[in-house]
């Protein structure tokens, strides 16, 4: 089943007198249970697209359907159903937390949805365990590292029991360790809980674990396929103003200098083996 379907979606900003087209006729569908990484350089329209996935923004033209419901629907009930099904996490974890105690912050979503008290307690326990932050439940968010804060933000969304997680550049402000923590949590949720994940980023190495990579450039989708295919197309990567991970760059350079090394290698061990096999 398709979780989210975008049909010729465009979004225009009104900036002074000029119309800025941030997203230009994008059609895309996201399969339930898949792990999709949406890549794009700054200004490629990927954040605008992310906000249209749960109706925070409504497209200027075209339509977005979430489990067969239109995000442009005016009924509050439908709007909130869509938002509780597609949970969105943003870039700066500090700007997403509303309480000075972690467990209270995680409980905020279910409280808003009017979930009975006993079930909120269960959900908070489960969500904190799912992101590995149960030991910090009574702590203050200001004492946590960036990666930990972002995991708490994920728990806050998980407690609403969404079917899809959308991460709008949620790793952009984190150090490599924090990024690895968050990516680990996402992979686990996708594998163990069957959570559909849409991860928006400009770090190419983060799509290694994904089923599918979508690349946006200047408001359009310019690539849609497996990460392996994307890594094997250095020209496209460059056109989209992205940067290949170092391992892939080495493999590409070796390939271009005429050596029998395959394009699109993302794993260090794989590269090592390819090099060892050279005569």
């Amino acid at each position: 089943m398709q979780a989210i379907v975008l049909d010729k979606v465009s979004y225009q900003y009104q900036l002074d007198d000029t119309n800025l087209v941030a997203v230009n006729e994008v059609s895309l569908s996201i399969e339930e249970g898949s792990f999709v990484v949406l890549l794009g350089a700054n200004g490629s329209g990927k954040s605008t697209l992310a906000k249209m996935l749960n109706g925070l923004l409504v497209p200027s033209s075209g339509e977005v359907r979430v489990f067969d419901e239109l995000t442009s629907c005016e009924e509050d009930e439908v709007v909130y159903r869509i938002r509780s099904r597609v949970g969105e996490i943003f870039q700066n974890p500090d700007n997403q937390m509303v309480a000075s105690v972690i467990e209270d912050d995680v409980a905020f979503g279910p409280e808003n949805l009017g979930i009975p008290h006993e079930e909120i307690v269960e959900r908070v326990d489960w969500a904190l365990r799912a992101v590995g932050m149960e030991a910090f439940r009574s702590h203050s968010p200001s004492k946590l590292s960036g990666g930990q804060k972002q995991r708490v933000a994920i728990a806050g969304i998980l407690a609403m029991r969404p079917k899809v997680l959308v991460l709008d550049e949620s790793t952009a402000m984190l150090d490599p360790r924090g990024r690895a923590e968050v990516m680990g949590v996402l992979a686990q949720l996708n594998k163990n809980e069957g959570m559909t994940v849409v991860h928006i980023t400009h770090h190419m190495d983060e799509c290694v674990a994904a089923d599918r990579a979508v690349v946006m450039s200047e408001g359009r989708v310019v690539f849609d396929g497996t990460p392996k295919e994307l890594f094997s197309d250095p020209a496209l990567v460059e056109r989209a103003h992205l940067e290949l991970p170092p391992v892939t760059q080495v493999a590409t350079l070796l390939h271009e200098s005429g050596l029998p090394v395959a394009l699109g290698i993302t794993d260090r061990e794989e590269l090592l083996e390819a090099i060892c096999r050279l005569k």
Binding site: N95, A99, V101, F108, L113, G114, H117, I120, G156
Partner: protein, 283 residues
């Protein structure tokens, strides 16, 4: 510099006072604060001091921490005491010059004023030492809930309070960072006279405000994403339940309050003290 400011300074400890229902603590503290304005005898202040010290002991808050809460009003207490000693004007002057005079009464009056201010600060400080900001917000929300009848947005006010408390450390950190950035570029924030320093704060405040608005935008999206206002019947994660502990606290407080009120209405210990001291000096 900014690190010293700790708002709603909670002192974590395992105690009965900490575990009390925040609503009871808030209401009792309200009585405490209102009542002190009627107390004008040393016996009354002694009762207040005994109450504060007993609570501090029960809450397992170190005396040093309690006294530190007074550091903010130290200058004010000294200033008010001095003014009262010299300008009170009543009683038989022991010493006088121009419009100033010092008498036994003026000294005792100054002492009372100082005690009143200090007790006025220590009581609420004890409340914040023993109650987390979250519990305070919950308590205030619950106490204000009758206002829902007149369509007062109690829930929104509680969320605003919660977010404000949550953002204080974040904005403090940001202020620190901006100050360091300005210093790195040669701004002198900590030097010069007071006007210079105020002027130097402008390049700190402008980016701080711009940053706060940027945060607010992302926060608004985050609130929407978390279905804020989705259900008219918002449920709660924490449920406030008054227990036997709160009943005991109310009874003890009532007994103490009765004593304080009686000391105001019935006894006149102070005249006795005045007379005794005057006699001692005069004799």
């Amino acid at each position: 510099m900014m690190k010293d400011v700790s708002f709603g300074q909670y002192y974590p400890a395992e105690s009965g006072v900490h575990r009390m229902d925040p609503r009871f603590k808030l209401v009792l503290m309200l009585f405490y604060v209102v009542l002190i304005f009627f107390v004008d005898t040393f016996v009354g202040y002694l009762a207040y001091l005994a109450f504060v010290l007993l609570m501090t002991g029960l809450a397992k808050v170190p005396l040093r921490t309690l006294l530190r809460s007074l550091s903010g009003v130290g200058v004010m207490v000294i200033f008010i005491s001095i003014i009262n000693v010299f300008f009170y004007g009543g009683g038989e002057p022991l010493w006088s010059w121009w419009v100033m005079s010092v008498s036994v009464e003026s000294i005792l009056h100054a002492l009372k004023m100082a005690l009143r201010i200090m007790l006025l600060v220590m009581g609420p400080a004890l409340l914040t030492f023993t109650t987390t900001p979250t519990a305070l917000t919950d308590g205030i929300e619950s106490l204000l809930s009758p206002l829902k009848l007149i369509k007062f947005p109690v829930r929104d006010v509680a969320v605003i309070m919660s977010i404000a408390l949550r953002m204080i450390p974040t904005l403090m950190e940001e202020t620190d960072r901006i100050m360091m950035a300005q210093k790195a570029r040669g701004a002198s924030i900590d030097t010069g006279n007071i006007f210079r320093r105020i002027k130097a704060l402008v390049p700190v405040l402008v980016p701080l405000f711009v940053g706060a608005f940027r945060r607010a935008e992302e926060l608004a999206f985050a609130l929407d994403s978390r279905c804020y206002n989705a259900s008219p019947k918002r449920t709660r994660y924490r449920i406030l339940k008054p227990g036997a502990r709160d009943a005991v606290a109310v009874l003890a407080f009532a007994a103490w309050g009765t004593f304080v009120i009686l000391s105001i209405v019935l006894f006149d210990f102070d005249t006795m003290i005045y007379n005794a001291i005057s006699a001692a000096i005069g004799g």
